[in-house]
Symmetry: C2
Subunit: 214 residues, 2 copies
């Protein structure tokens, strides 16, 4: 429908939830409408109609969209078509969990190597993914033209890891370490602070307890 | 300063980054100002001043805030004082990573038990945390008065897990499975879709490549 323009986080998350909903529908279902999606997800249906109009112009009044087509169009709208390779640094439990996570492929992203400085991990495999010595990080980023790096090392090693990724030409960093990283302006950093997320949930819980009672 | 009111996600994330920044400052530093925080984090300093005014009224013109006091006040503003107990369901790599994550305690949250249906995991320990049979989930939630549940089971088991948590009286669910959960209105659900987060980063990367070139 349109060229890639900056998309708000809110729109992005709504589209993801529509996509999830559509994929959970029975395979026999042929059409889907903004109203049924809105009802199922408890979202305002004007909002859903507006969002879907960005994604596809194939909606028909009173009928809605062909389900399969809308799934394809939503995915195309959300993701770049080409598959992207990423490196992950830190092969502990979280690194292992992310490497094993099957859904990345579905979203067009592939973790092609894991890095660690622990000699007992170097040379092992997580599924199909080799664990490589962290010393080779910058060099391999450059040689393999990797643009995405995921940091799952402890806090104290995160800045150094970030520096190596930047040195290797990485342009987007997904950081799980609970520190603010210093990176040049042309590098996108997305922080994933697990503890803060859970704490945010605890706050939302307080608000819900106030609203609905214990 | 004020009673707990609903807080925007944006404010929440800004406060978290101020807190991280303050904790990374050298321990010899005695004061901190909205201007220095704004400069270090590349945020507008009017915004920082406004945010900090919500957190503390102890700022002094030209001097700023006593660093230690501002850390304590920010933490108090962000988290409830009491420690909260949570259950996690799914003791795979991600479950293990979350249980082992040290920062939850710092934010006032404690994962007190993990649940799994895999007989080879039941009875084992992750650090200090016991892995318990999932069959006991609802019952133990109720008996131990647990309000927070974390779901790290595969997609196909997520709804059933959610139902059990709700049955046990859980009021806030942190869901890592890539499905839309059905939960009653009085239960807060926070979805953590890892693949979507990484895909969002890939989109931000596209935008950065357009802006700054390859």
């Amino acid at each position: 429908m349109q060229d890639r323009a900056p998309m708000s986080i809110q729109l992005f998350h709504r589209l993801i939830s529509y996509l999830r909903h559509m994929k959970q529908l029975p395979p026999t279902q042929e059409t889907v409408s903004s109203t049924t999606i809105a009802t199922a997800l408890g979202i305002n249906d004007v909002q859903v109609r507006k969002d879907l109009a960005l994604v596809s112009d194939k909606g028909r009044p009173k009928i809605g969209y062909a389900l399969k087509d809308l799934i394809v169009d939503t995915e195309r709208f959300l993701w770049t078509d080409s598959c992207r390779d990423a490196f992950i640094v830190g092969a502990g439990n979280l690194g292992k969990a992310l490497v094993s996570y099957k859904n990345f492929a579905q979203y067009g992203i592939k973790i092609v190597a894991a890095f660690d400085c622990n000699p007992s991990l170097i040379g092992t495999k997580i599924g199909d993914v080799q664990v490589v010595d962290s010393k080779k990080l910058a060099n391999l980023c450059e040689r393999m033209n990797i643009h995405i790096g995921v940091i799952t090392v402890p806090a104290e090693a995160a800045q150094e890891t970030c520096d190596e990724l930047v040195k290797g030409g990485v342009r987007a960093i997904w950081n799980f370490a609970p520190v603010n990283l210093q990176a040049p302006d042309h590098v996108v950093v997305r922080n994933e602070d697990m503890a803060a997320s859970l704490a945010m949930l605890a706050r939302m819980l307080d608000e819900s307890l106030m609203k609905y009672g214990m």
